[in-house]
């Protein structure tokens, strides 16, 4: 039986791995691409046209920090010109008002501005940079411009008890959406996992708080909450299913079905410099590998939820169980679930944590 190829709906364009921040939970791989390896403006522009022709509707500009690309305004214009809806996922550095105006005028639809918290000091500790004050400036500039805004707070053990402060900060920001996204444990976050995972008590309180906030703000501000999937009963539908909705292009042009797919040994990735986006989407070995259900083993294969969560995340299966083809170990039905439970038990025991700064592994920066 062959699997019908669905249409790709969104393109995640990792424009660069360069970033002025050093966040301890960065989802980028530990080995990053250098500036010299980055795709040119021309190649990206072709990729946007190919994506739109293949049915892609939206593009997220991310990184690293997309603002590190001097040609960002041109890239926005190219993506809009191809017919895509363009979002910029950014830390707000380096940016000034002139450049922001140029981005808005070139057709940028939506900005997602990330915050590490509502207070400068702990936020700067997490980002390893004095970035918070600049983010506040960017927020003020955005209030005077017509571009949709999402605030994104990355949540973890050290700030999950300050959701109230973050929410009231967010409510006064003019944002139409606020995301409280718990760290997902890949890349640098996986390396810092023991310091970042919240306890079960912390998580339960936060879920209850944000459920009430969501209710209160309905129709005014859209609240999005992402839980750490280590605590979930069932895994997340990672990327909406492997090779089903999303395609990610790395700074040097490799096409990945998931942010972390390069951790899986033996997967071969095609590059947009060699093949068209449609060809990669339909035929690339990496995209075909876990598309559909053929690859599944039990308990996924006969599970009623296999069309809801698609077996969870392949990269997480590899990271936690050493095999990318098994059920995501965060699933309560997974044979390897005990490994996740052991990690969570250790987190609960370490509850009485010292106030001292943890021994963070800060994200480095490629040349």
């Amino acid at each position: 039986m062959t699997t019908a190829i669905p249409t790709a709906l969104a393109l995640i364009a990792e424009l660069t791995h360069r970033c002025p921040l050093h966040c301890v939970y960065c989802s980028n791989p530990l080995e990053m691409k250098h500036r010299a390896d980055e795709l040119t403006t021309e190649v990206w522009s072709r990729v946007f046209r190919e994506a739109a022709a293949a049915g892609v509707l939206q593009v997220d500009f991310t990184g690293g920090e997309p603002l590190a690309r001097p040609d960002l305004v041109d890239l926005v214009r190219a993506a809009r010109g191809a017919g895509l809806y363009v979002s910029l996922i950014t830390s707000g550095l380096p940016l000034d008002e002139t450049r922001l105006d140029a981005l808005v005028e070139s057709g940028l639809d939506h900005i997602q501005l990330s915050f590490q918290g509502s207070d400068a000091e702990p936020a700067n500790e997490i980002s390893g940079t004095r970035a918070h004050a600049q983010k506040l400036r960017v927020l003020e500039w955005l209030k005077r411009r017509r571009v949709a805004l999402t605030l994104n707070f990355v949540i973890h053990r050290r700030n999950i008890d300050q959701l109230e402060e973050m929410l009231s900060f967010g409510e006064s920001s003019g944002a139409g959406r606020i995301e409280f996204a718990n760290v997902q444990y890949y890349g640098w976050a996986f390396a810092n996992r023991e310091q970042l995972l919240p306890t079960r008590d912390q998580l339960n309180r936060s879920v209850e708080f944000l459920r009430r906030a969501e209710e209160r703000l309905r129709g005014k501000i859209h609240i999005e909450f992402v839980v750490p999937d280590y605590y979930a009963k069932y895994p997340k539908a990672c990327m909406g299913g492997w090779g089903r909705k999303l395609i990610l292009i790395t700074p040097n042009g490799d096409a990945l079905p998931c942010h972390a797919a390069q951790v899986i040994p033996g997967l071969r990735f095609d590059n947009v410099k060699d093949r068209s986006l449609r060809e990669i989407w339909e035929k690339s070995e990496a995209f075909q590998k876990f598309r559909g259900e053929e690859w599944m083993s039990e308990p996924c294969r006969s599970c009623d939820r296999r069309q809801l969560d698609f077996g969870g995340c392949r990269c997480q299966a590899f990271l936690l169980a050493g095999d990318a083809a098994v059920t995501d170990p965060v699933c309560s039905l997974a044979p390897e679930r005990s490994k996740v439970d052991a990690i969570l038990a250790a987190v609960d025991e370490s509850r009485a944590e010292p106030s001292a700064k943890p021994d963070w592994l800060y994200r480095s920066n490629p040349a």
């Binding site: 709906l9 049915g55 509707l57 939206q58 017919g83 809806y85 979002s87 639809d109 939506h110 997602q112 017509r146 571009v147 949709a148 805004l149 999402t150 139409g176 959406r177 309905r218 129709g219 005014k220 501000i221 859209h222 999005e224």
Partner: protein, 104 residues
Amino acid sequence: MMPERQSRPCLALGCRLNEKNQPLRVLHMPERALRLNGPSLEIIERCDGKHTVQEIISELQKLYSKAKPENVERDILGYLARLHDQRALDFASDGGPNGTKEVK
């Protein structure tokens, strides 16, 4: 919330229709897109800050004259309310031709 009949719905900041020449018509929203079929596209195209809710209802009742008028009305009100809850629509109160409220 139920939209008021004299209010003039318009697409919220960051929400827009994709281009007409594309095979699949969608309403773009931050981080998502809503697929539009015949009637939902007819409704969204009228959420321009000029049509009142009542005018949208009347026009679609004419367009879909085979359907029961009260069903068309109920479906439109429900659809507009859902889109508002999802932050895709703003309702400008009646006031002027542009849907802007006059400041007294």
